[in-house]
Amino acid sequence: MLGVSYILGQRHKERASHEPYEGGILSTGSARIRFSSQFYLVAMLFVIFDVETIFLFSWAIAFKELGWYGYAGMVVFLILLVVVLIYEWRAGALDFGPDGQKILKAYKKLTAKQK
């Protein structure tokens, strides 16, 4: 499909053709920008939890054979997961974007000082 389109497609060259499209506004700076490290955090969270699901998968498939014993093991494992999750939560790794409450607090503090 790509090939067909390449052959059939028309060609043109205009003034703004060679610039990144940013809603019509002229772009500034490179696209290799720094963005929130939150994204990396998500990547890491994913890596951790996704890998843990691998263990859950293998447990799930052998679930009947393992019985209560395996169940107990998995519950322990899940508790670990949850503890980690709680920790991440508390550590702020799960807070995406700014926290309104905090901003409000900081703002109040600031205004209180100014008064």
Partner: protein
Amino acid sequence: MDDATISHLLITFGVLAGLLLVAPGLIWLERRLLALWQDRYGPNRAGPFGLLVVLADTLKLFFKEDWIPPFADKKVFVLAPAIVVITVLLSFVVIPFAPGIIVADMNIGLLFFLAMSSMGAYSIILGGWSSNNKYALLGSMRGAAQLISYEVFMGLSLMGVVLMTGSFSLIDIVEAQRYQWFIVPQFLGFVIFLIAGIAETHRLPFDIPEAESELIAGFHSEYSGMKFGLFFVGEYIGIMLISSMVTVLFLGGWYGPSFLPPLAWFIIKMFGFIFFFILLRASLPRPRYDQLMEFGWKILLPLSLLNLVVTGGIILWMNTH
């Protein structure tokens, strides 16, 4: 070539052709439905009920300039849209439409599906990154983050089904629902999977990576022509995929009252969900990105874990009593 091979080939191409034909059709369907629900006109010029608009769109896409931005990373730029379509199409390989109508009956079908849907993240990342455009990059970062996050819950929410079936094979799963659809015992799992599925296909309301109003068109801002078309088609095949998966996993697949053939039941259920997807688009606003992510990590993940634990416990308890 013996009969088995021929029938296998037939199924393969049948499924492929079906998908490629239906997907563009969905575009028309969506627009018509949106128009219906939002009380406006949909496509209505080309052909009866505007049906030919699909053809027109396709032709237009083919004749558009095959534009590769000079500032882009060319190889990757071309590769990215191809990945979408390929992965989504590959996922269909394991879907049992009806007894005997399946391209490849893998015993790890479910895992294969999960693996393929993870691959989708690559196309977004690569597409956004290779475009060398700030919006595209941001969109792709968001998209990737969203995709991989929901990937986790998606897998976890399915574990309940796996527990009840004891197999990763989708056929086994369907057959396990002969008497009771899993949507009943696994309702929580169903809900989570559905939400995750919507997020995976980055459909509205979870179309954060594209988010026209914020990011113009997100990761595919720089795409046009057929390459854009591929993203577009990929998205619609994705909707079908998720709908079929829900059908297979929770709604008993091809099972239904015997006055209709199994394939028909399957297609009915699938389209039911496709309608549902479109309805969502018509009715829900888009959440903020951070809300979306927090919702996933803070609510869906614990819920899916809880679902897993409770399901396991109940099954074991029932086995021993």
